[in-house]
C-alpha cells in the first residue's frame, strides 16, 4: 500500500495561499490534458516543462562553464567531447529518478531522507549539501563579477546587480512566474553556440572526436582533475534536491512523469549542446598553444577576441554572467527548500513573504554572504572552481545511494518504483563516480603508482 494514501483521510482540510496558487497551475494542466489536438499536447508540454530544463541549464553554471573552457583550452577537440556527452547521460539517469520521486511522494529530497532514514543520516546529507552549495554559490558570484568585469562594471556593482536580480526573481511569490522568468534568463546559456560558430570550428575533427573518442590525452593528475571537474560540472548533489523540490512545488503528479522525462532529457540536450560549444569555442586557444592556467572567465573572452571579434567576446561574457546568475538563483533556492523541509517551515515559491519569511531569508542571506566573500581580492578563480567541482563529484555517491534507496521504495513509490534497467544504470553511475574519485586520490597520494598505472 502506498503510505501516502493515508493522508487522504484528513478530516479537516486547511487550504493555504500556496495550495490555491498551485491549484491554478494544475487547473491549466487538467484543461490542456482534456483536449486531444497536437496543439494541446504542445501546450501541456509547455505547462509541464521547467524543473528539468532549469536544473540542467542551472548546472551549466560559472564553475562548470569555466571547466569546459579550461577543457577546450588545455586539450582541444578530442576525447572530452564524447566524455561530456556521457556525463549528461549520467545526469539524465540520476535526475529522472528525482523527478519521479517528487511526482510520486509530493515531498522534497531532504524531507524524505530525514523522515525515512532518520535525522542521523539526514544531517549528514544536509551538511554535504550545505557546504557544497555555499562553496558553489561563491563561485557563481565570481563568475558574475568576472563576466560583468568584461564590460567595465566594478566588482561591487556587479555583485549588487546580481543580488537585485535575485531579489526581483523571488519577489514574484509565484512558482510559475519565477520558473518562466528564470527559464528566459537561462536561455541565454545558449549564446555559447554562436560563440563556437564564430571560431569557424573544424566539423570533421568534431565528428571524428564524437565517434572515436580520439585523440586521448595523456593521463596525469591535471588531466584527471579536468575529468573530475567535467563530471562535477554535470552531476552534483544540489541538482537532486532542487529538481525534486521544484517538481513538488510545481505540483507534478504520477500522470506527469512522461512529460517530466521529456523535460529532463530536453534540459540535458540543451545543456550538453552548450557545454560542447564551450569546448569548441576555447579549442583555438589550445591550437594556438596559449596557456589557460590563469585565465579567469572574462580573460577567456579577452583571449578569444582576436578570433571572434568584439561581438563574440561580449556574447561570451554575457554567457558567463547568465551561467552564474541562474545558478545563483537555483542553488540558493535548493538550499532554502532543504532548510524548510528539515525545519518543517513553509517552503514554496508560491508563498507570500509574510508566510515564507524563513524560506526567503535563507535564499537571500546565503547569497549576500557569498557575494561579500567574492569581494575579497586575490581569489585564484580557476583553481577554486575546479576544486569546487571535484568536491561535488566526491559528495555525489553518498547522495546517490539515498536516492537509489528512495526510488526503489515501493511503499513510497507504488507502481513507479525504479525498474531493473534504471537500477543497473544508477549503480553504474555510482561505481563510475567512486572509481574516478579513487583514481584522483591515488594520483595525489601516490603519484608514482598512478603514473605507472597510466603508462607514464
Amino acid at each position: 500500500m502506498n503510505l501516502l494514501n493515508g493522508l487522504k483521510t484528513l478530516r479537516h482540510v486547511v487550504i493555504t495561499h500556496e495550495d490555491i496558487d498551485r491549484a491554478h497551475d494544475r487547473a491549466r494542466v487538467q484543461a490542456a490534458r482534456l483536449r486531444r489536438s497536437f496543439l494541446s499536447r504542445f501546450r501541456l508540454l509547455w505547462l509541464l516543462v521547467g524543473p528539468g530544463i532549469l536544473v540542467m541549464l542551472g548546472e551549466n553554471d560559472g564553475p562548470s562553464m569555466l571547466s569546459y573552457a579550461a577543457t577546450g583550452a588545455r586539450f582541444g577537440i578530442g576525447f572530452f567531447l564524447p566524455f561530456i556527452v556521457l556525463t549528461f547521460v549520467m545526469a539524465i539517469v540520476v535526475q529522472e529518478m528525482t523527478m519521479r520521486l517528487g511526482a510520486a511522494t509530493h515531498r522534497g529530497h531532504a524531507e524524505l531522507i530525514f523522515e525515512r532514514f532518520g535525522p542521523f543520516w539526514g544531517w549528514f546529507s544536509m551538511i554535504d549539501l550545505g557546504i557544497g552549495n555555499f562553496l558553489t554559490l561563491i563561485t557563481e558570484f565570481i563568475a558574475i563579477r568576472a563576466g560583468l568585469g568584461f564590460f567595465g562594471v566594478p566588482p561591487w556593482a556587479a555583485v549588487l546587480l546580481a543580488l537585485a536580480l535575485l531579489y526581483t526573481a523571488l519577489m514574484t511569490h509565484r512558482y510559475w512566474t519565477w520558473e518562466r522568468i528564470t527559464l528566459a534568463i537561462a536561455a541565454l546559456n545558449l549564446v555559447f553556440i554562436p560563440v563556437a560558430l564564430l571560431t569557424h570550428p573544424d566539423w570533421h575533427s568534431i565528428s571524428n572526436a564524437l565517434t572515436t573518442w580520439k585523440p586521448v590525452p595523456r593521463m596525469d593528475q591535471n588531466t584527471l582533475l579536468i575529468v573530475l571537474a567535467d563530471i562535477g560540472a554535470t552531476v552534483t548533489p544540489w541538482m537532486l534536491f532542487f529538481q525534486q523540490s521544484a517538481t513538488v512545488d510545481k505540483g507534478m503528479t504520477k500522470r506527469d512523469v512522461g512529460f517530466g522525462r521529456v523535460d529532463t532529457v530536453l534540459g540535458a540536450a540543451l545543456a550538453a549542446a552548450t557545454a560542447l560549444a564551450m569546448v569548441v569555442a576555447t579549442a583555438p586557444l589550445f591550437a594556438s598553444h596559449m596557456s589557460a592556467e590563469h585565465f579567469q572567465a572574462a580573460e577567456f573572452a579577452q583571449a578569444l577576441r582576436p578570433l571572434i571579434g568584439r561581438l563574440g567576446a561580449s556574447l561570451f561574457a554575457v554567457g558567463i554572467v547568465e551561467a552564474g546568475m541562474v545558478a545563483c538563483v537555483t542553488i540558493s533556492i535548493s538550499s532554502a527548500y532543504a532548510f524548510g523541509e528539515v525545519a518543517a517551515r513553509p517552503h514554496s515559491l508560491n508563498l507570500p513573504v509574510r508566510q515564507g519569511k524563513a524560506f526567503y531569508s535563507v535564499v537571500f542571506l546565503l547569497a549576500v554572504l557569498a557575494a561579500v566573500i567574492v569581494l575579497i581580492p586575490g581569489l585564484p578563480l580557476v583553481y577554486v572552481v575546479l576544486i569546487v567541482n571535484v568536491i561535488a563529484v566526491l559528495a555525489m555517491p553518498p547522495a546517490l545511494v539515498f536516492l537509489f534507496m528512495l526510488a526503489n521504495d515501493r511503499e513510497l513509490m507504488g507502481d513507479i518504483a525504479s525498474p531493473a534497467w534504471a537500477n543497473v544504470l544508477a549503480s553504474a553511475v555510482v561505481v563510475f563516480l567512486v572509481g574516478a574519485g579513487v583514481l584522483f586520490g591515488i594520483s595525489v597520494i601516490a603519484p608514482r603508482v598512478f603514473a605507472a598505472w597510466a603508462g607514464g
Binding site: V14, T16, E111, E115, F440
Partner: protein, 72 residues
C-alpha cells in the same frame, strides 16, 4: 483583494473547490505535516553508507591536501 476574489473569479470555482478538484490530498501544504514512517536500514545498506561516508571524509582530506600543495 482577497485570494478568493483574485483567483476564484478566473475559474468560476471557489478556492476550496478549485483546490480539492485539482490537487491530490497529499499535495496540500497542511498534509505535509503528517510524517512518513521510518524504515530501518538493512546491514548491507548500513555498510555501504558507512563506507561512502568514510570515503567522502578521506577524499575531502585529499582535496584539501592537494589544494594546499597546489597553492604553495
Amino acid at each position: 483583494m482577497t485570494a478568493k476574489q483574485k483567483f476564484g473569479d478566473s475559474t468560476g470555482l471557489s478556492d476550496e473547490d478549485l483546490v480539492l478538484s485539482t490537487l491530490e490530498p497529499d499535495q496540500l501544504a497542511e498534509s505535509k505535516k503528517q510524517r512518513i514512517p521510518r524504515r530501518s536500514l538493512r546491514r548491507g545498506e548500513l555498510l555501504v553508507l558507512w563506507f561512502l561516508r568514510v570515503y567522502l571524509l578521506f577524499m575531502v582530506a585529499v582535496v584539501v591536501y592537494q589544494a594546499w600543495t597546489g597553492t604553495h
